[in-house]
Subunit: 152 residues, 2 copies
DNA sequence: GGAAGATACTTAACATGTTAAGTGAATGCG
DNA sequence: CGCATTCACTTAACATGTTAAGTATCTTCC
């Protein structure tokens, strides 16, 4: 069996950890986890979104998102309103306080990203991202999460 | 601010998830999580290891590993002995039952890996792994986990 | 050889990942 | 219309990630 330390999942895990290790301390100083930061960033780009759509863009599972939104709301970093037309849906948006928090984190976050780009090389980084995207495509078509296949 | 869905951390996260989505169902059928599987694979390659060294090879933090080893031991998949020379250290090894479980999982795991390689391309896969390894190197030198730097 | 510091874990506490089950609200359709 | 199905979330339960604190053992150095 292949030396598992050189398997694709391990390579991806280690690479991602190497990257996140750069960001976590800064986020932590601002009282944010990686996931909370993803949510704020996703929200900053739009007026309001449904929870399900937010889960897709922030790449979080529903249950995780549910909990995190509860906490972010308690901290007044986001706001929710139930949609008028469909009481099941709730629209989530970033609050003014959330925007301010983002503004305070963004500079250091940008600086870290720039430093990563500088060390690894911008061209190489773009190449890597392309290859990762194609890996996703290669696997996405078949192994998607909820294929309508008989549960047996 | 950069569209975060195209950021490096997200690219790596999505790619890894696309890969792991292929493996999880098979592991699950055998009652193993991804991390438990990593540990068994790491143990299969050697006679016995210290916990700290195992944490390094399986890429798990100490506390996670502590819990998982407790559970794997309860399931009789691994064995531990405290080292004679140093009572702090404990040597971990895979049990016979653990070896058998691995043997039952390995075929499907290998098949999945082969299919991923086939879909993405062996050459491309090797290239990707090289680029990931270099990303690690680029970032590892400075941002390592425990640099002896003033706590402020 | 004995106290201070370092080491190898383990526990604790809280946040998230993951799957299954629950809840209330829309939809489809006879 | 009415009832079964689907949908959009939320809760529950258990496993892991992450940081801090705890415990026992070992090492160092006077």
């Amino acid at each position: 069996m292949r030396d598992f330390s050189r398997s694709l999942p391990m390579s991806l895990l280690r690479a991602r950890e190497a990257v996140m290790r750069q960001f976590r301390p800064s986020l932590r100083e601002h009282g944010l986890t990686e996931q909370q930061w993803r949510i704020l960033r996703a929200l900053a780009a739009i007026e309001a979104v449904e929870v399900t759509e937010l889960a897709r863009t922030a790449f979080l599972l529903g249950p995780s998102l549910s909990r995190i939104l509860r906490d972010l709301e308690a901290r007044n970093l986001i706001e929710r309103k139930t949609a008028k037309a469909d009481l099941r849906r709730s629209m989530v948006s970033i609050s003014e306080k959330g925007v301010k928090l983002m503004a305070s984190v963004a500079p250091s976050s940008e600086a870290i990203y720039s430093e990563i780009t500088r060390r690894y090389g911008a061209r190489k980084l773009a190449e890597l991202q392309d290859m990762l995207a194609e890996l996703e495509r290669s696997l996405g078509e078949l192994g998607a999460s909820d294929e309508a296949i008989a549960e047996e």
